[in-house]
Symmetry: C2
Subunit: 158 residues, 2 copies
DNA sequence: TGCGTTATGTCAACTGATTGACACAAAGCA
DNA sequence: TGCTTTGTGTCAATCAGTTGACATAACGCA
């Protein structure tokens, strides 16, 4: 009789975890699908949007970032990022500059074109954020962000 | 002077939304990457795991499900699901049965092999859930699940 | 000087995801 | 009966993601 509640609890935990990751899977797919629609006019995707957004951060806007740090920031593989960067490079949205301090490094930086595209993207991006998060209060959004952040940490250690 | 706080609030909201979707992007990538490691011994991926899990639900285990309902349940495109199903079909994990009631429909069902694979996968799946969610309490997991569910709803309307 | 390490780039192979388009059989209705 | 709609399958093109492997240039140190 002592086993029953333990088993039941384990089954409940499994169920919660299962739902959680399934919703994560669905929400992520939807984010890419719907988000891409909002920036489709620029010929961009959500992933490219993430890269440009990373390069548009004030701290790195002028100096650019190394490929290595960009990989760590985005959490994707070097080979995957390279393809993304090549596509953005072809469109002249970014440029690869040799690092003066370290000849092995390339500093990835937004070009003037890239900056203007990013500026033009702000309106549709804000529209997307507003539409997708319309049913969540700011507090709930913050809570979700923090929980996702901790989930990310847990996943990294798994 | 009345504009300033409004602008500041808008910037804050943008920032929260930005972080939220960026974490969703990272967490989802990590889930696939790490999760696939746990079921790699079976030659499976997280997506295939999702499909098999959907077919293993008690309500559909015996009768199977139509492709149409599976598409709606998983939230992926027909063409994508077809490729997934073909791969699972080749491995004899699932079977496509003609629906008696509707000749156009195919009922997708786990085979005996598929059921045994799913049973064998339970241990690594539980290990993955436990490791990835170690830092979150049950209450937090439930909260995260509910918030993701509402985010999914919002994204679907975006 | 020479050797190991690091940063980057690229090729290959595979899986997952999308949209668009075409095909076909069966259902449903006029 | 005939026409439209529905459910499924497939081909094509494109983008994103992974791992593994190899190449190259530059840094760092003995």
């Amino acid at each position: 009789m002592a086993q029953a509640p333990t088993k039941a609890r384990a089954a409940q935990q499994y169920d919660v975890a299962n739902r959680l990751f399934f919703r994560l899977y669905q929400a992520s797919n939807l984010m890419h699908k719907q988000g891409t629609r909002y920036v489709d006019a620029f010929g961009a995707t959500t992933q490219q949007w993430a890269v440009i957004g990373a390069l548009a951060r004030p701290a790195v806007l002028d100096a650019g970032v190394t490929v290595k740090s960009l990989i760590e920031f985005l959490g994707v593989s070097r080979q995957n990022l390279a393809i993304l960067l090549n596509r953005l490079d072809e469109r002249q949205w970014i440029e690869r500059i040799k690092d003066k301090a370290d000849g092995r490094s390339r500093r990835i930086r937004l070009t003037a074109v890239g900056k203007s595209v990013w500026a033009a993207m702000q309106a549709p991006i804000e529209a997307f954020y507003g539409a997708a998060l319309a049913d969540l209060s700011i507090d709930e959004q913050v809570m979700l962000y923090r929980l996702l952040d901790r989930l990310k940490t847990g996943l990294a250690k798994a």
